[in-house]
Each structure stands twice: as C-alpha cells, then as structure tokens.
Symmetry: C2
Subunit: 389 residues, 2 copies
Amino acid sequence: MMSALGQPPAYAPLDQQGLLALAAPHLPGAPESAQEIGDGNLNLVFRVRGGGGSVIVKQALPYLRVVGDAWPLTLDRARIEAEALTVHGGLAPGRVPRLLHHDAALAALVLEDLGDHEVWRRALVAGRDVEGVAAQLGDYCARTLLGTSDVLMPPDERKALALRFSNPELCAITEDLVFTSPYIDSPSNRYDDAAAEAAAELRRDRSLRRAAAMLRFRFRTRAEALVHGDLHSGSVLVAPGDARAFDHEFAFMGPMGFDLGNVLANLALARAAHEVTGNAAFARTIDAVAAEFWDAFVAGVGRLWPPSEPWREPFVAGVLADAGDYAGVEMIRRIVGLAHVADVDELPDGPRLVAQRTALACGRHLLLGGRATAFTDLWTRATREEPYA
Amino acid sequence: MMSALGQPPAYAPLDQQGLLALAAPHLPGAPESAQEIGDGNLNLVFRVRGGGGSVIVKQALPYLRVVGDAWPLTLDRARIEAEALTVHGGLAPGRVPRLLHHDAALAALVLEDLGDHEVWRRALVAGRDVEGVAAQLGDYCARTLLGTSDVLMPPDERKALALRFSNPELCAITEDLVFTSPYIDSPSNRYDDAAAEAAAELRRDRSLRRAAAMLRFRFRTRAEALVHGDLHSGSVLVAPGDARAFDHEFAFMGPMGFDLGNVLANLALARAAHEVTGNAAFARTIDAVAAEFWDAFVAGVGRLWPPSEPWREPFVAGVLADAGDYAGVEMIRRIVGLAHVADVDELPDGPRLVAQRTALACGRHLLLGGRATAFTDLWTRATREEPYA
C-alpha cells in the first residue's frame, strides 16, 4: 500500500482497522474479532478470528518497556524474526509457527495460530510431560544450527546470512542482561531480599566475573550458526508430538552452544523447582527430558553430517562444552538478573530460596568446573549441586 | 554500481595516461615516469616519479592468475585494502604505508612510496637483522587487533566494522590454500619430488586432517578483530627502526591468533633455512626476533588494556594458543601447498629437503601437541623438531 506521495506509509502501532486488514487475507472468512494476548512490553500480539479460523498478528513496538522505563529499540527485529522463521522453518519444517505474511513498513508478522498449544514452561511448571517435544526440539537444533553453519552451508552463503542477521541492538540486551549485569552491582538486577547475600557473594567472585567476561567475548564473536538467540522454555510452544520454537527476534550468527545451553539451563531450573517442592518423580522426568533433547540433537547431527568427516566427534564435544558454559550464565542470570523464570519465582518463599541458591551453585559449577566433557557431566553439574552461600 | 561480474562500469586496467593522472595530485611536480614493479598476478603495481618525488599506484585486477590459470576475483578487495589501511593506520600511526587516495571506480590506491624500505622476507633471507622492526610489528598487532575487538571497541562499532569488512572471496582463497588443499590430494598443491613422500604421509594423517578442519572452522567463524589476514614476512616493509605492514586486501573480521601465528611461522621458516645452511648465529638471532615480536605484542596489550580487567591474562593465553595452531598450518602449507616461501625455496636441493621436512614436523607438532601454553612452548615446537618422514 502506497500513500499519496508514493512513500510506504510510516510505521504506526496497529489500530483495530489496520489489524483486521492485515489478518483478512489469511483467514477463511471475514475477520470478526481481535483480542490482545501479549503483555505489550516489547510487541503487540493479537489473535484475530474470522470465518471459523484464526491467526496471530505480532507487531514490534519501537521501544522496550521494563520496570517502569522505556528505551528505543529497533523495529528491524520484526524483519529479523520473519527471516529467521523462514530460514529455520525451511531447515526444520514444522518446527516453527508458519509465517503467513511480513509487513516491513508496519514491522508486523501474521503467523499461524497455535492456539491448541501451550508454552512449554507452563507445562513444566505444572509438572506435565508433553510427549515427544524434547526430541523434536533437539532435532530442530541440529537442523537449524548445522544447516546454517559451515558444516552444511557453503561458507559464502553462511557469510551472506551473517550480514542479513546482524542484530546488534538485540544482542546488546543479551550481552548486558546475561553476561554483564549479574556480575556487577547493576540497577537492572532483581532478586529476593533473602537472596541478596548470595548475589553479593557472586559479585565478589573474581573467577566467576572472569569466566562470564570470557564467555561474553565468545558470545559476541563466534559467528557459527544462525541461532534462535533466546531459546528458553518460554520460547517453545508444545502440544503432544509437536514442538514449535517461536519469538526469533534475537536471532543472529552466534555460537551453537548458546541455544543448546539455554534449553538445558531452563530444564535444570524447572527441575530445581520440582526438587525443592518434593516432586522427585517429575524431577526425574526432567532428567529424562533433558537427555532426550540432547540425544536427539546428537542423533540429528549424525544424520546430517557424514560420519567420515574426521572432525565431527571433536566438534560435537566442543559444542557440548560450550552449551555447559552458556547454561551456567543462564542459570545465574535467571536468579539474580532482570528476567526471572516462573518455575522458580512462583514457588513459596522457603523452597524458592533453596531453589535459587541451588541454581546459583549449579551455574557456578558449570562455569568454573572446567569444560563439560559429556552430557552426564554437564547435566550433573546443572542439577546436583548443594545450595550456594 | 556493479555490473553482473562485480566490476564497476568505469573500471579498466590503467594505461599510462590514467596512471599519471591518478598519481599527479600526490607528487611534488608533474609526473615524469611510471615503472611497473609488481608481478601482475593479482594487481598492477607501479612507481610513478615526478618533481623529485614518487608514489606507488596499485590497481586490483579482476582476476587472479596462478600456475597458468586465471579466475575472476572481486575488485572489492581494493576497497577492503583502502579501508583496512585507514583503520589500521589510525590505530597504529606510522605502521602502514600512508594511503594518499582511493579511486573506487578504478579499484586503485595511491600510496606513499617506501622505496628506501625492503621486504622483510628479503632481509631475513639475506641474514640481515633490521633493528627494531619486530617490536614495532608486535606493537602494531596489539594496537590493531585489540583496537578493533570488543576489548577496546564498543561492540556495536565492532559489529558495523564486521559488515564493512565482509571479505568472503579472499577468505575463500585462504580457506582453500591454508586449511584444505595441503591435507588432500589437490591439484593446487606444489612440492618437490623429494618431498612427495612426506606430503603423502601428511595427507594420510587423520588426526592432522581433523585438526586442520577444526581450525578452518575457527578461522571462518571467530570474528574477533580486523585482522590483516596475510601477515607473513613478505607483507612487511622494513628499514632500520621502521616496520610497515602492507597488502591489506585479505583483511576481515577474524581470529587475532591468525596474524600473530603467520608472523611467527614465517620467522620459524626463515630460521629453519638458516639452520640447515649452518648459519646458527642468525638462527639464534631469529629466536630473539620472534621473542621481541611476541613480547612487544604482550607489552602493547598491557598498555592498552587496564590490568584490573580480570580476563586479560586468560585471554592473552588463549590468543597465544591460537597463534600456535595457526602457525602450524602456515608452516605446513608453505611446504606442500600452492604458495611457498623464498626462505626455503631458494636453498640448494639437500638442505632444502631437510628444511622442508623440519617445517612439516614443526607444523605438525604445533597442531597436534596440544595448545601452546607459553611463548617458549610455542616457539620450541615451531623450531626444534627433528625432520619429518
């Protein structure tokens, strides 16, 4: 659509009319109703129904709103999300929501509505195992990470991809919130009064600050693959036998271990919460889920990458070790940084503090115990530490 | 605007008239004579004199000519060279030739003439130590590598730099000639008949192939700093007390250890040549030159990076270990790959074979002996191995 002056219409937050117009071509009948389902901190997210069907419309807001403040944030992230959905969806068909339309001027996406799915984190919090999703997510990681890396993609294509997915503003958020702020006295940090002493001890730990700084450098510079960039259990929609990664706006050319480590860290946080509330059976289920995820990743690598390649084994070992390091910072920042996880935050006071201190101890062990050498090594460190401080 | 072949429409190889017109504004008087001083395989290089002064004009050719073949090669490398000279020259004043002019359409650079300098490799071959140049080159590496990395540059600026210095075509040459071909039976490989058995044994060495493939992945993906990309002793002009890195067309965002390792490998090759010809005194001089280079790099890092940063020490250790790995592939490819070094090639038959087998053994030890842990460890491996095969 062009304005009278021949310019694309300027960006504006979608009103009811614009929303219905955007959704209409993708519904089986005329649009009937729109309901906002997002939290409005970063994006507007609506479900639009019509003709017995529905779609999701997601529009990027030109700012990020957190704890009372707002700061400008590039609308280019809608393009990043649309293009990452296309690339990842092409490599791992059915493992992301279908992108129906991308409106560049409005920074808006029209997406398949997965209304019968739930966010994986909610299932984990509720102690519900959803059949098959961990294996699908591991396979998704294998396909998307290897498929956008020099392992399977011609290097010039991978380098062209790196240019398209330069995403410095969203990466800067991760660099700050995951790798920097938790290790200094930053105003963005949030933690319970009861965890204040543990947080302070963490900041005094010079070896931990060093490890986090080294890892931040790796996060910033290792352009290995088009990573999702924010693959926690709140970025996965699940139904029995169907896992879908979503919210790809943090996608960039980064280290493979980052996505894998984030999945494992969030499973470990879920496990810690069930352990402290006496749900040992579901804690054991999560052990199996984590192993299922990792095994599927390794099996996917095995299918995609000829075993004759002599560097396959050491390469996968390196990715595992990286995943352990990134899982470490993720576990720590979810306790003392800005963005927490419901798994832990929703616990009653006493168990919550134990789960928090356990997560800090596990994160610390992942970061400082040397590089993980096998999945059991990584997972033991992520889940079997005594509470910290 | 680029044509379908990636050639700006106004591009044509410089004729006498164009050459003088380009040089004129940068000479103290009217241009008088032009002399071609390059080999014409990749670029046209001229010295233009006039009014008692002189300048160098370097024009990229739209193809690369080697062993009888020619293949198209992007003219964008002239832009890369001009911009890298500007960035590196700004960070390390006086350590590169001054860029007087860049003509984008003609893919040509007008450069300060360093006619009183010689190529460092020629001095090393002749057994001449040139005072102060190793320390200056080490300092150049510290300033340019740290200065274009997340250590000293704001990450968003470093990421913007990575976009400007995307250099896939020239990187592909390095990826092929340094990391791939020497380890397979490639038609681009060249070696003496007498070294054929050693080359074949090298190709049968699965652990070496694996190490080279892993290192190629690191070379491709670790966007740490704006590296020179081809920093051998033939890319440095020297005069007493003055070292200048030149030929920046391979510059890209890559691993810091690559530049450092290339310098050290080429010193080690020079050393091997002097050792086999009985010039033990100059071999010991090169030991001192290499240490001077490395010490100056470390001292430069110390001046530029506050010692309070807890990750400085382990970071430098990691760069050293990387340099050892990259030195390993450089030593090997200079014996069995396409591009050799005069230091070894110009030796008489008998000593040449010993130097070649020594270089292969050293390269192998650098790659397979575990990561170097200190400069003496790296340098011992690079210089003290018994001949291979």
